[in-house]
């Protein structure tokens, strides 16, 4: 309250007069009239209202303390795996809900109490403060520049050009050490991205059953995922290999296959395409049985499996690579070689 008494002795209008731009003259109806007089809040004039505010603030702080106790109690009381039904959220972890709500309340009440305190009991008299230019005065500037010149001159940098030039050279070269050290972050690409685990004679293994696939396993309208024989989930590089080798197999009516090469590379209408989208590499997983279109769920590139895996919609830039397959003498589907082109997203060296 004392600050308000102060402000009544020093009306803000007077402080503003120091500023030439604010001078409110009768000639200028748009002139800045200066700060309006402070309007008292009820707490400023009625001590009972101020007491009420005090009780509210203290009540909030007390509630926060109780909430913290509630937090500790919840931590001790609820087992970590207890699930409860709470309308309307549904089945949730009792511990998560109780800890979160008690923590939330404990924090919120501190905040609400402090803000209520600041708004109702602390001063709300607005006072002006002058701004000062950040830039230095001309004298300081001159002094500084002179000092800088002295420093530069004393360093002899301008005169001893050899020192300067070799210093620049040294400083320019030393970061190269850091750059060189980055070399071992990874291997050179080489032709890694061109090859997959597929090779001539490798059987197509069903990804779910881990059994080799026979032509009769592939029903019309089904979508089957396969990986190359010899690849196991326990392999150290399984993820790297499956990221390139993942295969999807569908059965078409041979007369529906529009692309001649696709027909040649198929077996009894069974076609095998790379599952890795040629856009940015998501696994394509959505198959439309009637149209034989596949859709990548990430960015909606759509490919026509009856037409050489051609892109018919979306952001992919080229057709899905097809794997040439046949049946071996035991009646299992097998690859006749690796993919003819790199699978997955395009890159500079792809060509």
């Amino acid at each position: 309250m004392s600050s308000q008494d102060n402000s009544e002795e020093n009306p803000p209008q007077q402080q503003d007069d120091a500023d030439g731009g604010v001078l409110a003259t009768r000639d200028n109806p748009f002139a800045n009239p200066g700060l309006p007089p402070h309007e008292h809040r009820v707490q400023d004039i009625d001590e009972r209202a101020a007491k009420r505010s005090e009780r509210v603030v203290a009540g909030l702080f007390t509630l926060s303390m109780l909430s913290t106790i509630g937090f500790i109690a919840s931590y001790v009381a609820f087992p970590v795996d207890k699930i409860v039904y709470v309308f309307p959220i549904g089945h949730v972890s009792a511990l998560n809900l109780s800890l979160g709500l008690t923590l939330g309340l404990a924090l919120f009440c501190i905040g609400a109490g402090a803000i209520h305190w600041a708004r109702t009991l602390m001063t709300d008299v607005e006072v002006p403060e002058e701004r000062h230019d950040i830039e230095a005065t001309p004298e300081v500037r001159e002094e500084l520049l002179a000092g800088f010149q002295d420093g530069v001159r004393e360093s002899d940098l301008g005169r001893r050009k050899l020192v300067r030039n070799t210093l620049i050279g040294a400083m320019a070269m030393v970061p190269l050490t850091g750059l060189v050290l980055l070399r071992d972050l990874g291997p050179m690409p080489g032709t890694m991205l061109r090859h997959t685990k597929w090779a001539k004679g490798k059987m197509l293994i069903n990804e779910n059953t881990h059994e080799p696939l026979r032509p009769e396993d592939i029903a019309v309208g089904s979508l089957t995922f396969a990986m190359p024989e010899g690849l196991s989930e326990e392999d150290h590089d399984f993820n790297n290999q499956i990221a390139k080798a993942a295969l999807m197999i569908v059965r078409l009516q041979p007369e529906n296959i529009k692309d001649k090469r696709e027909l040649d590379w198929s077996h009894e209408g069974i076609v095998a395409f790379s599952k890795i989208c040629t856009h940015v590499g998501c696994p394509i997983s959505l198959y439309e049985q009637q149209t034989h279109h596949v859709l990548c769920p990430c960015h909606q590139s759509t490919f026509d499996l009856t037409d050489g895996g051609r892109v018919i919609f979306g952001p992919a830039g080229h057709a899905l690579p097809q794997l040439r397959i046949t049946v071996n003498d035991k009646g299992y589907l097998e690859a006749m070689g690796d993919f003819a082109e790199p699978v997955g997203p395009a890159y500079w060296e792809r060509g």
């Binding site: 503003d16 731009g21 604010v22 000639d27 200028n28 748009f30 800045n32 009239p33 200066g34 309006p36 949730v92 972890s93 511990l95 998560n96 979160g100 923590l103 939330g104 309340l105 404990a106 924090l107 919120f108 009440c109 501190i110 905040g111 402090a114 803000i115 600041a118 708004r119 001063t123 607005e126 006072v127 002006p128 403060e129 701004r131 950040i134 980055l182 990874g186 050179m188 993820n239 990221a243 993942a246 856009h279 940015v280 590499g281 998501c282 696994p283 959505l286 990430c298 960015h299 909606q300 590139s301 919609f313 952001p315 830039g317 080229h318 997203p345 890159y347 500079w348 060296e349 792809r350």
Partner: protein
């Protein structure tokens, strides 16, 4: 010789003695004297930056806790923890430890959810705070550097978010990392090398979680912490901007002192923000990695979306046609590379606008009074167009969800987004500018003719008129306090001595920009005192 001070020190209360101790070693008194009672102006929009700061602090606090339990390793294990649906499934230790945090560490799930929610709120509040600064012109001299620092914080925030939500190595985030890798591959010449070096070989490899981890918890937050501190120091150094109004000028700041009022309000607000985020984390699940499963590069779920702030990049990549150029044994993957370039360019567009504006005005004065957005129609229009671009691509980034939830054609939505990317920003720019000019006209009308009182008066001869109440001087000043720039003119091609000079291209551009910002159709001349006097003296009774 120092007995006098010694006795005084002994008598002083303990707090004071501690402060004295610190002052004689750190000189804190001079620092505190300048800042303790610093005046801060009050306006709801000034608290948006506080939300950013507080959510950043919350993220750091909860993030440190999470590092105690998270295992940033891509070593594979078979899960045997308490969460039944995942038992016996192969997964990385990163994913398994995220499950442990969620199901075995008491309160771990809560802290994880607070961390993620706070991250979403952090980036969201940075956007809103940035737009507040933009629309009110708070970035003008002397605050340009703080604008740039704030912008860098936003960009770093985006990448900290990306590296953060990729850490659990779940199916959704792994798909996002694959997208990132595919985008990196599209970079001409060096893309393949960048990808190999980032992932330590082919995707996914066994390195990226560990590498993202040190980027996410050390490199980026370290830089951000430095920028945040610098950002705040500059706020104190420049003193906060304020709105024009009675008693407020370009050379003062009107408000209440930091100690105690803003200590109470801002300090309390931290707890308010923290409390609300904790309550959200209690009732609203976020990123339930246990429902998504561990990452495998040949599996995917539908409806894969990044966190909202990168939805814009997602949209760009989805709507771009699949252009690819094969020539001389090389592939130029424009369909991916163009979106990859547009993404930073759109962000940069808003970052450089303040500098373009200041070049066009040539204004070197300090600006501490905020602009009302209506008084700068071109700037406001540009800002709205920028937001429109962002939102359009955010919608495009969820084209599959729009299609499934509203039973629309995905092809239709994609085509709509492709066209909207070019059309909607232009339309929103024009519409916003029109609205601003309309509001300026209304302000002018109000100043000159007063406020519509809603009282209809019948004159003796039967005519009905509405009574207008003249505005108070407070209101008159507030509505006319803003500066209006005059557009630049090209200097005459022949000067007074008859010597021809051709304006350079940059001069021409500058004049054109200046006209676009402040030309005849781009602002309404504000009422002058003469106009006001003429109207009030002739028929002031309205």
């Amino acid at each position: 010789m120092s007995t006098a001070t010694d006795t005084r020190r002994k008598k002083a209360p303990a707090g004071e003695r501690v402060a004295d101790w610190a002052d004689s070693r750190l000189g804190i008194y001079s620092l505190a004297k300048a800042n303790m009672r610093k005046i801060f102006p009050d306006h709801w929009s000034f608290m948006l930056g506080e939300v950013c700061l507080y959510s950043f602090i919350i993220i750091i606090l909860t993030g440190v806790y999470l590092t105690m339990f998270f295992n940033p390793s891509m070593g594979e294990i078979v899960y045997d923890g308490p969460y039944v649906p995942m038992q016996g499934i192969r997964m990385s230790e990163a994913y398994a430890s995220t499950l442990d945090i969620s199901f075995e560490v008491r309160g771990g799930l809560l802290i994880r959810q607070i961390h993620h929610w706070a991250a979403l709120i952090f980036v969201g509040s940075m956007f809103v705070h940035m737009m507040r600064v933009f629309f009110t012109g708070a970035y003008r001299k002397p605050r340009e550097m703080n604008w740039v620092f704030g912008f860098l914080l936003l960009v770093l925030g985006l990448f900290t978010g990306l590296t953060g939500y990729s850490l659990p190595d779940d199916l959704l985030s792994g798909t996002g990392v694959r997208f990132t890798q595919g985008a990196i591959l599209s970079v001409p010449l060096v893309g393949t090398y960048l990808s190999m070096f980032l992932f330590g070989g082919e995707f996914p490899g066994h390195d990226f979680v560990g590498r993202f981890y040190s980027i996410h918890i050390l490199l980026l937050p370290g830089i951000m912490l430095g920028l945040v501190v610098a950002h705040l120091i500059m706020v104190f150094l420049h003193k906060h901007t304020h709105w024009a109004g009675p008693g407020k000028t370009n050379t003062n700041v009107v408000g209440t002192p930091f100690l105690p009022v803003y200590m109470g309000k801002a300090g309390g607000f931290f707890f308010l923000v923290f409390g609300v985020i904790a309550a959200i984390a209690a009732v609203a699940t976020i990123n339930p990695v246990w429902a998504i499963g561990p990452y495998r590069p040949d599996q995917v779920s539908t409806g894969a979306q990044p966190d909202w702030y990168l939805g814009f990049a997602e949209g760009l990549i989805r709507v771009m046609p699949g252009w690819e150029i094969d020539a001389w044994g090389h592939t130029l993957v424009l369909g991916v590379f163009i979106p990859l370039v547009i993404f930073p360019l759109v962000l940069l567009a808003i970052a450089v606008y303040p500098f373009i504006e200041s070049w066009a005005t040539g204004d070197t004065r300090n600006h501490h009074l905020l602009d009302r957005p209506r008084n700068t129609p071109t700037r406001t229009g540009f800002g709205v167009a920028w937001i429109t671009t962002y939102l359009t691509m955010l919608i495009a980034g969820g084209n599959d969800l729009w299609a499934t939830h509203f039973h629309l054609s995905i092809n239709g939505i994609t085509w709509f987004s492709r066209i909207a990317f070019f059309v909607l920003p232009v339309v929103s720019f024009i519409v916003t500018k029109r609205i601003c000019l309309g509001l300026q006209r209304r302000d002018k009308e109000k100043v000159l003719h007063g406020r519509e009182s809603g009282i209809i008066k019948r004159l003796p001869h039967g005519e009905f008129i509405e009574v207008h109440e003249p505005l108070s001087q407070d209101q008159l000043h507030t509505l006319t306090a803003h500066d209006q720039y005059q557009p630049l003119e090209l200097e005459p091609e022949v000067d007074e001595n008859g010597v021809a000079r051709k304006p350079t291209r940059s001069e021409k551009l500058r004049v054109k920009l200046s006209k676009g910002l402040y030309g005849e159709d781009n602002q309404i001349a504000k009422p002058t005192v003469e106009e006001y006097k003429e109207i009030t003296s002739s028929h002031g009774h309205h």
